[in-house]
């Protein structure tokens, strides 16, 4: 805090009292769901979609759409926070926990790079996506996830800024070292904890 006050600024948005403590610093409440994508929106038919786990694992594995839907499916309601300053509360997704998928491949190392149709990547340590912290989701509000929001399948890693929740997700590579993904190379923070306001490099 440097004590600076913006001359004549009065607050115009006020989050309801009961949810105010769910908004991380610098975030505002958004009821819609803005779209933010680097590049054109990929079009991935479900019969061509798959999710793979490869790299440093005991047994690489790939699930096609119908195989993926045989896995235990959960409804997940979480608050999500975008680095462009909006937050959305109680967003409801349907999908499969990464724990279920990791159980089937035996990860041997501590880091992961998620990769998407269209070329997007984002990095996450395994400990940030295990024990109920991350899902591959295919539904939003009980409906198939729309293409603009990452359908047919995207990641959901709600405790980090939402660029970590890769849209059009195609798989993850387990690695023995950390490596920055797309936005992490291009100026956004390597970790991205909204509660610590880790938006950019050096935050």
């Amino acid at each position: 805090m440097n004590g600076f006050v913006s001359r004549g600024f009065t607050r115009r948005r006020r989050a309801p009292e009961e949810v105010a403590d769910r908004l991380p610093p610098g975030q505002y409440l958004e009821s819609g769901w803005p779209v933010l994508t680097a590049g054109p929106t990929p079009d991935v038919p479900t019969d061509e979609w798959s999710f793979r786990i490869d790299g440093m694992v005991g047994q690489p594995k790939e699930w096609r759409w119908d195989e993926f839907h045989q896995l235990p499916f959960e409804t997940i309601t979480k608050d999500i926070h975008c680095v462009t300053k909006w937050s959305k509360l109680d967003a409801t997704f349907g999908g499969v926990s990464i724990d279920v998928l990791l159980d089937q491949v035996e990860p041997l190392d501590a880091y992961a790079m998620f990769y998407s149709y269209g070329g997007y990547t984002t990095n996450l340590p395994i400990e940030e996506i295990s024990d109920g912290k991350a899902w591959v989701v295919t539904e939003y509000d009980g409906e198939p996830l729309s293409r603009e929001h990452g359908g047919p399948a995207r990641m959901l890693v709600p405790h980090l800024y939402f660029w970590k929740s890769a849209k059009w997700v195609h798989g993850m590579t387990v690695m023995d070292h950390d490596e920055p993904g797309f936005w992490e190379v291009n100026g956004y923070n390597n970790h991205g904890d909204p509660w610590k306001e880790e938006r950019y490099w050096g935050d």
């Binding site: 006050v5 958004e30 936005w183 100026g187």
Partner: protein
Amino acid sequence: MESPLPPVEQRAPGRWQIGTVSKIKVETPRVKSFRIELPMWMPHLPGQHYDVRLTDPDGYHAERSYSIASSPLDEGGVELTIDKLEDGEVSPYFHDVVVEGDRVEVRGPFTSYFVWRGEKPVLLVGGGSGVVPLMCMLRHRRRTMPDLPMRLIYSVRHAGDVIYEEEMGDETLLTFTREPPEGWSGHTGHIDAELIFEAGIEDGIAFVCGSNGFVESGSQLLMDAGFDPQQIRTERFGPTGTG
């Protein structure tokens, strides 16, 4: 492709700093440009943005990101062009409260995806206030590489909505989607394949900036025209994305 501009420095830019508004220009009834002098200025790449933070006496903060409109050759500060969103929290403050001489808290420049590093040829496609980061590219090209092939396709709704109107030159193809100026003989309606063709940029890099719907249809048209999806960089303003 050649790259006459340096890559973004691999060090963290952007500590919060208090800048001083030295000039305010009214661009349209709902758009103003603010020149902000900075004590810790560093050169930006065309397309980068700054974050602005407003603080009330109780310590409440509101933050938003705004694209830089000025060339990095205008040293010592940046020009941010701000579209007033009536239900916003930061843009109405800039429009209704800020006067020349006021101090504002900012940090930047940030991110290095939607940036132009001198690649060519370049097609810029902007809708409404999506033209702001593209104008930074255009201004910088005029001052550094005036012969580099760069064209701007700029779509606005009404006659009075053209930001930087006096700076639109031969490289710009302007279209009005709702109400053109009286006597307008140029393009009207949404950007289409014909307009992209008329721009005459092939095998190049494209920057598309505007609302989500604008960017979605614009990038589709570019792909149809043969642009490599990897060479189409986009920046989308959500429904309240830049409020």
